[in-house]
């Protein structure tokens, strides 16, 4: 785990900075809201790229790439690879399946609640056996979980668990990275920034070029 986290830090920062750079050059963000959205987008993309190829990273990139406002930023970051990646990741059929399943969930929940109400009215909870209740509760919770994790709706059981585990670890790492970034920028904004020599900025600027 430690090795992957080390890779993740550098890759994350590189991607995050690239994302910020691209979104700044594309549109001079007028409002703080726009800048916040571009930061969030860059952070999520950076997290997905830093992790590599898993189910949830694919789903996340697909989800982000389908929103109109994100497309130009994504194109800027990925360059030539944009077309290839979007073609590979996006699959409209998958989302249709998900929509159909969502309808199923609502009707299931309704019948479950109706059943509980009926048994409560009759004054006895014995109608629904405890194992069934436990399983229903578990199903309900896992459905919530599936909605939280990108691409989770399509997974079951242990694969869902391993995806959740992976996603939680990456989220935690993302939060930690952003916290340290914030601390760094906070410190710099209070200190005298003119001390940075111009030549070092030029050197660091070349660092931002997207490289495989």
């Amino acid at each position: 785990m430690h090795v992957t986290k080390e890779f993740k830090k550098k890759t994350f920062l590189k991607q995050f900075l690239l994302g910020l750079h691209v979104s700044n050059s594309i549109s001079n963000p007028i409002s703080i809201e726009q800048r916040k959205n571009s930061i969030k987008l860059s952070a999520d993309l950076a997290m997905a790229f830093a992790r590599g190829r898993t189910h949830w990273t694919h789903a996340l990139i697909t989800k982000l790439g389908q929103k109109e406002e994100n497309k130009s930023t994504l194109k800027g970051i990925l360059g030539r690879r944009y077309q290839i990646l979007m073609a590979r990741y996006s699959c409209p059929l998958l989302y249709q399946k998900v929509q159909r399943r969502k309808k199923g969930v609502r009707s299931y929940r309704f019948s479950y609640n109706a059943q509980k109400r009926r048994s409560a009215l009759k004054g006895s909870c014995v109608r629904v056996s405890p194992s069934v209740v436990a399983r229903n509760l578990e199903n309900r919770r896992s459905k919530v979980l599936k909605r939280l994790v990108p691409g989770g709706e399509l997974l079951k059981g242990s694969s869902l668990l391993s995806e959740v585990l992976d996603y939680v670890i990456s989220l935690k790492a993302q939060v930690d990275m952003m916290k340290s970034l914030w601390r760094a920028t906070q410190v710099s904004s209070s200190s005298n920034v003119e001390l940075i020599p111009k030549c070092s900025i030029a050197k660091e600027g070349s660092f931002l070029h997207y490289s495989k």
């Binding site: 969030k40 436990a134 059981g157 242990s158 939680v168 970034l181 710099s188 904004s189 940075i196």
Partner: protein, 84 residues
């Protein structure tokens, strides 16, 4: 549950569950087998939600900070933190 799908053993599922359990912010860690599956799932859901909120909050703060300073200098600072 269909048995044909469970090519992964029970032991591996238990391992995943215990790993997840170890990750969650342990305000109350009393014994390894205390957490039922439903409770674990519930705690995981709330943890993920709180992480999302943190990311939101951090990007808010970063946007205020970055907008108040020149972009090149902020990038320089970020790279400095990378090299630390």
């Amino acid at each position: 549950m269909t048995t044909s799908r469970s090519s992964i053993t029970e032991a591996e599922i238990n391992e995943l569950i215990s790993k997840l359990h170890a990750l969650l912010p342990e305000a109350r860690r009393r014994g390894t087998h205390r957490a039922s599956a439903a409770k674990l799932l519930k705690e995981t859901c709330s943890y993920i939600k709180s992480l999302h909120r943190e990311v939101d909050d951090l990007s808010d703060r970063l946007s205020y900070l970055i907008s108040s300073m020149d972009v090149t200098t902020s990038q320089a600072e970020i790279i400095r933190s990378l090299l630390r």
